[in-house]
């Protein structure tokens, strides 16, 4: 029972972190029609930059501000250099972002090395809950993820740029005719997508391993969340990420992690067959 609770809690917290990353993937897909194969590597770059920040400053907390900012700038540069030249053509985006994924992985492998590293949680203490000692940092990670998710949705609905993002996502041409600088919106959106994944990387760095292939495992999970939540449905994507990770956490308490992942794939297949528009279509907007 204790193990079940522990894994369920871990799953829930991991789901919130994945929700952050998947949200970045979803806005990039929803707005730019880009199938971003490199998105898992944006997360990986976030974990590696967190490690470098800790090495350089000796203070992990700096990474919470610095890494998303670096991620935003990198995202904006990548949009201009890689995405803009392919004119948002979905098929080309797969090839371009696959190439980008290889460049990021190899770039990190050359500079960071191949040895997986661990970052100690900046909050070391635990607390006793339902008969188990639980790391406070994990709860902190959940809180940061929740705040970032809430902040993103507030940004989307309360700021001019957020309104422009929603308008361009619906009808780019009309938005331009109304004076919306769509190209700038694209650049900023890609930057925000990278920043969200990088923030996910910082939050997750002390509870996962830091290495150049960390993003490889994350990417399918994010895509499953985007598909189950409904393509372009941002709250649905976040909810699906939490649901999937929570379910995998529970299944892992009595079965192999591979079985848990297979269960997620089965769920995704079922959703595609029964509700191809996504599990949360109609419940969220």
């Amino acid at each position: 029972m204790d193990t079940l609770l522990l894994l369920a809690m871990n799953g829930l917290i991991w789901g919130l972190i994945i929700a952050l990353i998947a949200l970045g993937l979803s806005i990039i897909f929803g707005l730019l029609d880009i199938i971003n194969i490199a998105h898992g590597d944006f997360f990986m770059v976030g974990t590696v930059l967190a490690w470098f920040t800790l090495e350089l400053t000796g203070n992990f907390w700096v990474a919470f501000l610095a890494v998303p900012l670096i991620g935003f700038i990198l995202g904006a540069l990548i949009q201009r250099a890689v995405i803009q030249p392919i004119h948002n053509v979905a098929a080309l985006s797969i090839v371009a972002t696959f190439g980008l994924s290889l460049i990021l992985q190899e770039g990190v492998r050359i500079t960071f090395g191949t040895t997986p590293r661990r970052i100690l949680p900046p909050i070391q203490s635990t607390f006793h809950m339902f008969g188990i000692d639980y790391e406070i940092y994990r709860l902190f990670a959940a809180l940061v993820s929740l705040l970032a998710l809430a902040g993103f949705f507030i940004f989307l609905h309360r700021t001019k740029l957020g309104t422009w993002m929603r308008a361009v996502r619906h009808d780019r041409e009309t938005a331009i005719a109304m004076g919306v600088p769509a190209q700038r919106v694209y650049v900023l959106t890609f930057g925000i997508g990278f920043a969200l994944a990088a923030l996910g990387g910082v939050v997750a760095a002390p509870i996962t391993t830091v290495e150049f292939r960390t993003g490889v495992d994350i990417l399918p999970f994010c895509f499953m969340a985007v598909i189950i939540g409904g393509l372009g449905n941002l709250p649905g994507t976040a909810a699906a990420a939490v649901l999937l990770a929570f379910l995998e956490g529970i299944i892992q308490s009595f079965a192999d992690p591979t079985v848990a992942r297979i269960s997620s794939l089965v769920l995704m297949s079922a959703v595609l067959l029964v509700r191809p528009q996504g599990l949360f279509k109609g419940l969220t907007k």
Binding site: R166, A167, I176, M178, G179, V180, K285
Partner: protein, 232 residues
């Protein structure tokens, strides 16, 4: 105010506009008429920078619109009401109204558009997709007015609108023109166009084939029949 000189537009291999010449004077109301597929909407899209021209010049108040990106065109003073209204269904009425304003809300301008379309004020928090067709058209025109345009371009503003609301929209377009805003109207409803616009351009196969006063066109039924397929 607005002049198009020998404007050509190619879409893929199709030569859609084949040398359009057109001029709208300050404060004038002009209609662009023609059968389906002759290039009326493409002409408007070319003015807004949405259809890249392969040749020719489009000038607005002596500014070559080729030199500014498409999203800057509304800020130069050209408002556009696209065919099908182009309302963002996922945005509220208020968000739709203010979409083109780069900064804060312009409450003075909001008061003006609510005076023109009082019904919109009652629906500020509603999503665009909850409005009726007529209300969406009012919103599309109001959204243009928020940008304080000097010229407003309307692409079939009465298409698919209840007859009761058509006359209201027609009245508002006339009222907007009376305030000194120039109007360029594309309209399938020839009667509406001729009533609203003292000047008319007829298009055929991507070029302007007739330009003159509306009352003169009314007295030339053979032209009306040839280019619009109507018998008087």
């Amino acid at each position: 105010m607005l002049s198009l000189r020998d404007v050509h537009v190619h879409i893929g291999k199709l030569h859609i506009l084949q040398g359009v010449n057109l001029e709208v004077k300050p404060g004038e109301s002009a209609a662009l008429l023609g059968r389906n597929g002759v290039g009326k909407t493409t002409t408007l899209r070319a003015i807004m920078g949405l259809a890249p021209r392969s040749r020719g010049a489009i000038e607005f108040e002596s500014i070559d619109l080729a030199s500014c990106p498409a999203h800057e065109v509304p800020r130069k003073g050209i408002g556009y009401v696209p065919q099908g209204r182009g309302i963002f269904p996922n945005l509220t009425v208020l968000e739709n109204l203010n979409i083109g304003l780069p900064g804060q809300r312009d409450s003075e301008r909001e008061d003006y558009v609510f005076a023109c379309f009082p019904r919109l004020k009652e629906r500020l928090k509603q999503s665009g997709n909850t409005l009726s067709g007529g209300e969406q058209q009012m919103l599309a025109i109001a959204r243009c007015l928020m940008m304080r345009p000097k010229l407003i371009i309307l692409d079939e503003p009465t298409e698919g609108i209840m007859p009761k609301l058509v006359s209201q929209i027609r009245r508002e377009i006339h009222r907007i023109n009376q305030t000194g805003v120039s109007v360029l109207l594309v309209e399938q409803n020839v009667e509406t166009a001729l009533k609203l616009c003292p000047r008319v351009f007829l298009m055929e196969k991507g070029t302007i084939v007739y330009s003159g006063a509306s009352h003169e066109l009314k007295s030339q039924p053979e032209i009306v029949h040839r280019y619009l397929g109507l018998t008087q």
